[in-house]
Symmetry: C2
Subunit: 257 residues, 2 copies
């Protein structure tokens, strides 16, 4: 998906594998590309990263990613990635990579109960053109998928989705893509289909473990003033917290433009 | 605290009002400066912002802030701020500013019960040099303040602090400073005093309302692999959600170096 073209430069192809149904780069893929570039540039595992979505980019094209590492530390290196098409900036990512001794442990919440993915309603592909969604399987364990109306609104601000990308390992890049389905909980929380545009996607990585499906515990924190905020906790099938993520969204009535 | 020195350039003095007890710039003040610069540059209210803390900066000095606005929209403008001392980058902030119609409303959680600030234990100033802490009042409503050991560990991952900065309005910049006391909940959650270094501070603004004290509902999400993640919900005395914030921390045993 991302490959280095020169020292501190990477490229992200925008095509039918990396674009959403509307044909433009899927935000979570842009964040994932920044994470891969930061990990390769620092040769360390990512700790956290935040992507700021600046412009929609229609396929087919190739986004250039420039990596800067303004703080190179002994254990932790911090950097940013500017993704651009010529002069136009498309996405900016910043984050930290590093490894440290495990000085303390704590996890106070546990994975919510969810029916096994095999017994949950499968999201039908809802795009009639090839897109990223052909490579992502989603099963609704609780609530409504707010962009399609599949499932049933939970009556509160929480939805549960099982998500897998069968062609990929669940590494930090893949988790960043999966995290970007959290805004589907907006429609569930409001009890009606809603549109939105993500402004950012911030992800923090906990323990990495092999899992087929990822349980996304989506929580909408607030909607008002034309914006909305939500978060997602990402669990392995065995109940290990793999990541938490959060984002800000521009909130729109369904098909409002 | 921040004033424009030229088009798209601001300055942040690092002094006894903006530095923590160790004499270096308090992270939340750096984020606040970026927020003020973004709001002044865009002439719009901030929606969300994230600050990446790159280097410690000892007082006295002046950090130069350079603002870029790569995505200027009709309603929402996105930008970033690079804070530097000459060639050395100190802090990078990015965020979005804007105003939109209030198309939908939702808030599913409510302010937790807390004793009034007047009846709560006051945090004693614990620095023997003038610092930001002389301008911030903290009352412990639940849990232990994890950097000083004041209060009593709650036995879970949640603490409640009343915080006010009597000299300032509770505008987004002030809330960004107050949000940066969330890491004090790390020691509460682990049941012993802990040290940490913040990697980032991400804040999302909900409804703004006048309040004397801000109730900070601090939640630690995960500690492991040398890092920790937490969030804070910031409530007015009347129970309005004013902001949510989250951050990644490098976690250290107390006085570990």
């Amino acid at each position: 998906m991302v490959h280095p073209v020169a020292s501190m430069q990477w490229q992200l192809p925008v095509n039918t594998r990396t674009a959403g149904g509307g044909g433009s780069l899927f935000g979570g893929v842009g964040l994932a590309a920044g994470i891969v570039a930061l990990e390769q540039a620092t040769k360390k595992p990512v700790v956290w990263a935040s992507g700021q979505y600046l412009a929609l980019t229609q396929q087919p094209t190739v986004v250039d990613l420039e990596v800067r590492l303004p703080a190179v530390g002994r254990n932790v290196t911090q950097g940013r990635v500017v993704g651009h098409l010529g002069e136009e900036e498309i996405i900016t990512i910043f984050g930290a990579c590093g490894e440290r001794p495990d000085v303390a442990r704590g996890l106070w919440d546990s994975m919510p109960d969810a029916r096994p993915p095999e017994t949950c309603e499968a999201m039908a592909g809802h795009h009639d053109v090839p897109s990223l969604s052909d490579h992502v399987e989603i099963r609704i364990a609780r609530g409504m998928f707010g962009f399609s109306g599949a499932g049933k609104a939970s009556g509160d601000n929480r939805s549960l989705l099982w998500v897998r990308m069968p062609e990929l390992h669940n590494d930090p890049g893949t988790l960043a893509i999966i995290a970007d389905y959290m805004p589907s909980a907006l429609g569930n929380a409001l009890g009606r289909m809603m549109s939105c545009t993500s402004l950012d996607n911030t992800i923090r990585f906990a323990d990495q473990i092999s899992t087929e499906w990822v349980l996304c515990e989506n929580i909408i924190d607030f909607v008002g003033n034309g914006f909305g905020y939500g978060q997602v906790r990402m669990w392995s099938e065995s109940g290990v917290l793999m990541a938490t993520a959060s984002q800000s969204m521009i909130v729109r009535p369904w098909q409002y433009d």
